[in-house]
Symmetry: C2
Subunit: 254 residues, 2 copies
């Protein structure tokens, strides 16, 4: 029996990145797409609790069952699991291909990886794919073979003890990519600015912009891998505990 | 000089939880509030990049400078840091008091803790407070002394090597609380259901509901602490790497 593969993203169901991921995934199994009906970049692990969601079938992809959802990426996975698949197994959840990097701390803001995280919490092997190119015209075909290689390995050899991979692909020609590296998440940060302006009603507004700063150069990190034109694969999980600090807080206990 | 304390939340600036937190924080320093102008529960680490934000001063709190913001909890912290405080130091960021638990994996969905996480990424000692009571009429005064104790310790003795604490308070009378425990984040999960219905326009909708299931009973976890009427304090951080799985993925490297 062919594997059942759930595909989602955060850039919305009409983006080029998900079209490429669906095209690749079709070669490996029966694909069902559940993706947001509008761009949801930067939604992190947001979910919708205060309002109801819509879920409509769409024929946007050739020969692939697909649904567009009014919610966040995490909502899409929850709806797929509970309403569409119900008791059917999902063998693999793929999210992306995201337009832009989700390496380092960007995983926290990422709807793409959060959707995959949500599936992993349900025990489903999950992979978030991102291309380090924010352009709407980004060329996802350069990484096609590497993505296929990772999906193939995930389906046929598993993910070791991991349930979730955060995969980032450098902006580079296919023959410039040096390979695939297993890494840890690097420390980085955004230096933000707000563009200030006045809206048509005369009211002040603030619009976020900024640039990302790498704060680690270690060879075992995702930022090092990407800078050296490797595809970075970070096994990721739900645990945000700062384990090393557990023993340094005894003055707070009582 | 009195410490400068930034207060935010995810339930919105008019919620009872933030009113109580502001009241407590006023005893320790100069408080500035920047909080969402509408409820933002479940927004996780979402931020707003596709549209501009508004930020208006409000006199909702007595003798406290306060601003309401159209964005997410994370947006509030970014605006506070970059637009209001600029180069001024923020000594402590407090978020909450959240109406409902943010223990275990709920930290991933939590706007409250994500706001504190955002401040911690900027190097600011930060604490997210949540009361395990979803009621709008929740009584936050029972935990007042314990919250004051934690803020006092944070300002006067620091957070050890931690930058961020996820503090959850059991639903209990003051004299029923057994103390404060430093813990790690437990594994848990939501068993979801979607309430299905038809909206006034005859279209089908899905509305998320569900119940939380504890998957760990170990004594060093936040879920154990809360179940045994301790306040749980989990030092938390930005790293989602599944470190133990790093060595089990060599079949994916190339």
């Amino acid at each position: 029996m062919r594997p059942k593969i759930l595909v989602t993203n955060d850039d919305g169901i009409t983006s080029r990145g998900i079209a490429k991921l669906v095209e690749i995934a079709k070669g490996f199994g029966d694909v069902v797409v559940v993706a947001p009906n509008s761009p949801q970049s930067g939604m992190g692990h947001a979910l919708t609790i205060e309002e109801p969601l819509s879920l409509y079938e769409t024929d946007i992809f050739t020969q692939v069952t697909a649904f567009e959802c009014s919610g966040t990426p995490v909502d899409c996975v929850k709806l797929a699991k509970n309403v569409l698949f119900k008791n059917d197994t999902i063998d693999l959840c793929l999210s992306g291909i995201n337009h832009g990097s989700n390496a380092s701390i960007n995983i926290l803001y990422s709807g793409t990886v959060s959707a995959a995280m949500e599936a992993s919490l349900e025990g489903i092997n999950s992979i978030g794919f991102s291309l380090c190119d924010y352009s709407h015209q980004a060329d996802f075909s350069q990484a096609q073979d590497h993505i296929a290689q990772i999906i193939d390995a995930a389906l046929n050899n598993g993910l070791g003890t991991a349930k979730l991979l955060n995969v980032n692909i450098p902006k580079a020609q296919k023959n410039e990519i040096n390979g695939i590296k297993i890494c840890r998440q690097a420390r980085g940060n955004w230096i933000e600015r707000f563009q200030e302006g006045t809206n048509p009603r005369g009211q002040k507004y603030y619009w976020l912009t900024g640039e990302f700063i790498s704060e680690e150069k270690d060879k075992d990190t995702d930022l090092w891998a990407l800078e050296h034109r490797y595809i970075s694969v970070v096994p990721s999980m739900w645990d945000l505990t700062d384990h090393e600090s557990l023993t340094t807080l005894s003055h707070l206990a009582s």
